[in-house]
């Protein structure tokens, strides 16, 4: 029994480690469904909403892509760490869920042109007079963040002098600034900006220079050129028509901090 079990496990490991060929554009169209990987624990990117249906930026984008292909959208839920393995093992055709482009990932999967950006920037108010994030490195400044965010320890190197107030949630960080407990938040600001709408009488400022910008493309199977070509052309249209930005604003409550500049040459 135990031997059989071990054999079975070994088979699974073998099956998972062999790479299956990604489906080409023609194969997807003739099959009639596009398998889209989304992370359901990542609102407002995608999550199970009030009616237990998937909703969010990625869901709208995924449906739009499937429409353009003339196929049905089949959403496959993946955790962040499963996105690359799911593409490699051909369980999904495309991966959404803020697939940040990194060289390590690009060895394993393919990417389209950027769908959206991720910007680590500064949200502050008119109470402090600074123009760039480096000026935050003063001992009379209090930075707020969420306890448990990895960026807290990263920031200790870049901005060692300010005091740090660690609170519990996205909304509480913005509230702490609005109430005067802290001066600024340094984070992936897109996830926080919509909470500033709760305090409209505060003069919010987002510093124009970002500390770090990453670009998220759509993840596809490596060497799947037919699909990549199609998606790049479609994404150019979705960017120029305003679809991406409108959808972003619909779910995030504010425009993308660093908008994608559409480029017709790939």
């Amino acid at each position: 029994m135990l031997r059989k079990f071990i054999l079975l496990i070994a088979l699974f490991v073998f099956a998972a480690s062999t790479t299956a060929a990604a489906r080409t554009l023609d194969e997807i169209i003739s099959d009639g469904t596009l398998r889209i990987g989304v992370n359901p624990n990542f609102p407002p990117m995608s999550s199970f909403g009030m009616t237990n249906q998937l909703e969010g930026f990625d869901i709208d984008v995924g449906r739009r892509i499937a429409d353009a292909l003339g196929v049905k959208a089949e959403f496959v839920t993946t955790e962040a760490a499963q996105r690359v393995p799911f593409l490699v093992s051909n369980r999904i055709d495309i991966a959404l869920g803020a697939m940040t482009r990194t060289p390590e990932r690009a060895k394993l999967i393919g990417y389209t042109i950027p769908l959206h950006s991720e910007a680590m920037g500064v949200i502050t108010t008119d109470k402090i007079d600074i123009q760039s994030w480096e000026e935050l490195d003063r001992s009379d400044i209090t930075l707020v963040n969420m306890r448990g965010n990895l960026s807290v320890s990263l920031l200790k190197d870049k901005l060692p002098k300010p005091k740090v107030l660690l609170v519990d949630g996205n909304a509480d960080t913005i509230r702490a600034i609005a109430q005067g407990r802290a001066d600024a938040l340094v984070e992936n600001i897109d996830s926080f900006l919509k909470f500033t709408n709760n305090y409209r009488n505060v003069k919010w400022r987002v510093l124009s220079d970002t500390i770090f910008v990453a670009y998220c493309g759509i993840g596809i199977g490596k060497d799947n050129d037919s699909l990549r070509n199609f998606l790049n052309i479609l994404l150019f249209d979705l960017h120029t028509s305003g679809f991406v930005n409108d959808t972003w604003e619909k779910w995030y409550g504010s425009p993308m901090a660093v908008p994608i500049v559409p480029n017709p040459y790939f």
Partner: protein
């Protein structure tokens, strides 16, 4: 499932964590004694007070024992500023937990006050005891014996319950534990060590309370 435990990184942070434990004890001590102060007046009001003070005390106790301490501190920290009162992280936690402790200690102390039998009080008066003697030799031994166990339980609860302060920017033991586990990505190891620190804290607290009880009121309490 072949996770390998790695305590080295977390051990290095032990002094930092122990600093957090000191803050935890500080919160527990301050809120316990301030809460006890409220509790004494609450208990006396509930037993000997007039109808109005009895009712007011009841409302206070009912409200604070029927809402989570977390919610109470949340409102003090985030809702009061909109009414113009900005409490610091530590102040909000101390005020919130003190009010919460005051409500529980009112009930605990009230149980002690009513445990003194009227016949014994009358006997003491008949023996010609002064009010002070009556309090010291008749009332306090009864009260101490009745409330001793719930009182030390409640102190332990305060030590553990003060961990909610981590959510409001206080760098006590739990808050520092989350910081350490985020930086080291070693949450299981961090919280194992933190659990042991909490055990040491509460055993020390129960032990010293047992000692006080034995020396001052001859209450024989067991720590284990």
């Amino acid at each position: 499932m072949n996770y390998t435990f790695q305590f080295t990184e977390v051990w290095r942070e032990l002094p930092y964590l122990l600093g957090g434990a000191a803050v935890t004890l500080q919160i527990a001590f301050i809120t316990f004694w301030c809460g006890a102060f409220i509790g004494i007046f609450g208990a006396l009001a509930k037993v000997y007070g007039g109808p109005i003070s009895k009712r007011v005390t009841s409302y206070y106790v009912t409200f604070f024992t029927n809402t989570p301490a977390l919610v109470q501190v949340f409102l003090l920290y985030y809702a009061l500023p909109d009414a113009g009162v900005l409490l610091s992280s530590m102040a909000a936690v101390l005020v919130g937990l003190t009010l919460n402790a005051g409500a529980y200690l009112t009930e605990i102390l009230r149980a002690g006050v009513v445990s003194v039998r009227v016949s014994e009080m009358e006997a003491a008066t008949a023996l010609g005891m002064s009010r002070l003697q009556l309090l010291r030799y008749v009332m306090l031994p009864h009260i101490a014996k009745t409330i001793y166990a719930p009182l030390s339980n409640f102190f332990v609860w305060l030590v553990l319950g003060s961990s909610l302060a981590a959510l409001f920017g206080v760098e006590e033991l739990t808050g520092r534990a989350i910081n350490v586990s985020t930086a080291s990505l070693r949450s299981i190891e961090t919280f194992t060590i933190v659990a042991m620190i909490y055990v040491v804290l509460t055993v020390l607290a129960s032990g010293s309370l047992a000692l006080v009880g034995r020396l001052a009121f001859r209450v024989k309490a067991k720590v284990f």
